[in-house]
């Protein structure tokens, strides 16, 4: 008797809990698992971290600027080019083809990085 009551209580609590979850979050979680992988490159202290990123084809790479100075992300082969990114601004690019993609910051050209797509 007690066990069934506690199970019932738990079930009710769970139902109430689920009911308070924002339905948007649930759908985002579901679709993220279906989408290709997203990987992040952090820009900070005049450097790209990681400097060399290896990802499978189809990956969307997102650069996010955590530095207190603006930077850009520009492919040396002209494949992609961000607008200027101030602190906390992002740039994303989806790499559909395999290859090596060197890039740099066009404002501070000593900052270089590479994405290797397999």
């Amino acid at each position: 008797m007690r066990r069934s009551v506690s199970i019932a209580v738990l079930t009710v609590a769970l139902v109430i809990g689920l009911g308070t979850i924002d339905i948007r979050h649930v759908s985002v979680l579901a679709s993220a698992q279906q989408k290709a992988e997203t990987t992040e490159v952090k820009i900070d202290n005049f450097s790209f971290g990681p400097g060399t990123l290896t990802v499978p084809a189809g990956t969307t790479v997102t650069w996010i600027n955590r530095d207190d100075i603006p930077h850009t992300v520009v492919s040396t082969e002209g494949v992609f080019k961000s607008k200027v990114l101030d602190t906390d601004e992002k740039f994303s690019f989806t790499f559909s083809k395999a290859g090596t993609y060197p890039y740099f910051c066009s404002i501070h050209p000593k900052m270089t990085g590479k994405v290797i797509v397999q």
Partner: protein
């Protein structure tokens, strides 16, 4: 060199008893441009304290101008959330100079993000400066997103290509160069073939005695390549200026004052009016250096330059905002 106890005068340009080696020794001791210039001897005659002794400027043909740099309008982080305020303080400093400058040079990074409102704000603030004539060259922050088109339209001055130009003032020849365009991955500042050809032609027929002032954003000497503080093809530019007796190179970009003398060429970088940056290699990266609020104005500044016709060297003096 060994066994010499007395310094020999090697190159007494102004006949005041101080030579290049003495100047360099002084600089090594002082660590900054300012002190050395004041007591270094080559420029002794022109220290600010002596300027009142000089008779009417016009009859001496004296030229006086100010260099400001790296105003970064739009920057709002530590150590300076108010770059408009510090630029205004710089203008106040300029307006308080005992020898009022005729014009100003802005060696770039006028704006922080190349936004029109940022350029507008600088223009507005500089309207209250006594010297209303301002000559600009762009920094890398001024040519974002549009290959410098906006900068050219605002500050053109009949310039060629990416915005290089020259003009004359009281017998001195001023050359504005652009070394922030077409930067290559892993590279430094660059002048490019077209600009170098123009420069060679521009100075070809000038007399050797013409004092030359070159101004550009990124230093035209190798300050610290690891941080991009240098220009790849500056050696070629300087080779065209070898014949001149006095060449003064004024740069910005590194947000601190540094000076180097090499033969007849004096290289000088100005402080920023916005925020300081660390000395070469003294931090992980060349980004904004955080200092306590009460110290901020002492690491920002302007550069006052004076020249007397007939004399060789220009007097370059750095002044901090506080």
């Amino acid at each position: 060199m060994a066994g010499k106890l007395k310094d020999e005068i090697l190159y007494d340009h102004n006949h005041d008893g101080i030579d290049r080696r003495g100047f360099l020794k002084c600089m090594a001791w002082a660590g900054t441009g300012a002190l050395c210039v004041m007591s270094g001897g080559v420029l002794k005659s022109y220290s600010l304290s002596r300027l009142p002794e000089m008779s009417s400027k016009e009859s001496l043909g004296e030229l006086s101008f100010v260099q400001i740099s790296d105003s970064h309008m739009g920057f709002n982080k530590p150590a300076n959330p108010d770059v408009a305020g510090t630029l205004k303080a710089a203008v106040d400093k300029i307006n308080a100079l005992s020898a009022p400058p005729e014009f100003m040079l802005h060696t770039g990074d006028v704006s922080h993000l190349s936004k029109p409102e940022e350029f507008d704000t600088v223009d507005q603030i500089l309207k209250s400066a006594k010297p209303q004539d301002v000559f600009y060259v762009p920094g890398e922050h001024d040519v974002l997103n549009d290959d410098g088109k906006q900068f050219l339209e605002r500050y053109r001055r009949g310039s060629k290509g990416a915005g290089w130009y020259s003009f004359d003032k009281k017998g001195a020849h001023f050359i504005g160069l652009v070394n922030v365009m077409n930067l290559k991955a892993g590279g430094l500042g660059t002048l490019g073939h077209e600009q170098l050809e123009w420069l060679e032609d521009d100075v070809k027929h000038l007399k050797h005695s013409t004092p030359i002032v070159v101004f550009a954003h990124i230093p035209l000497w190798s300050v610290y390549p690891e941080w991009g503080w240098g220009t790849e093809d500056s050696a070629q530019a300087l080779s065209y200026l070898k014949k001149f007796g006095s060449v003064t190179v004024l740069n910005g970009h590194i947000h601190q004052t540094l000076q180097k003398v090499e033969g007849n060429v004096t290289f000088h970088t100005a402080a920023s009016t916005a925020f300081p940056q660390p000395q070469p290699g003294k931090a992980d990266s060349p980004g904004p250096m955080k200092v306590p609020a009460e110290q901020l104005k002492s690491v920002l500044g302007i550069t006052d330059v004076n020249y007397v016709q007939g004399q060789h060297a220009l007097a370059v003096v750095d002044l901090t905002l506080a």
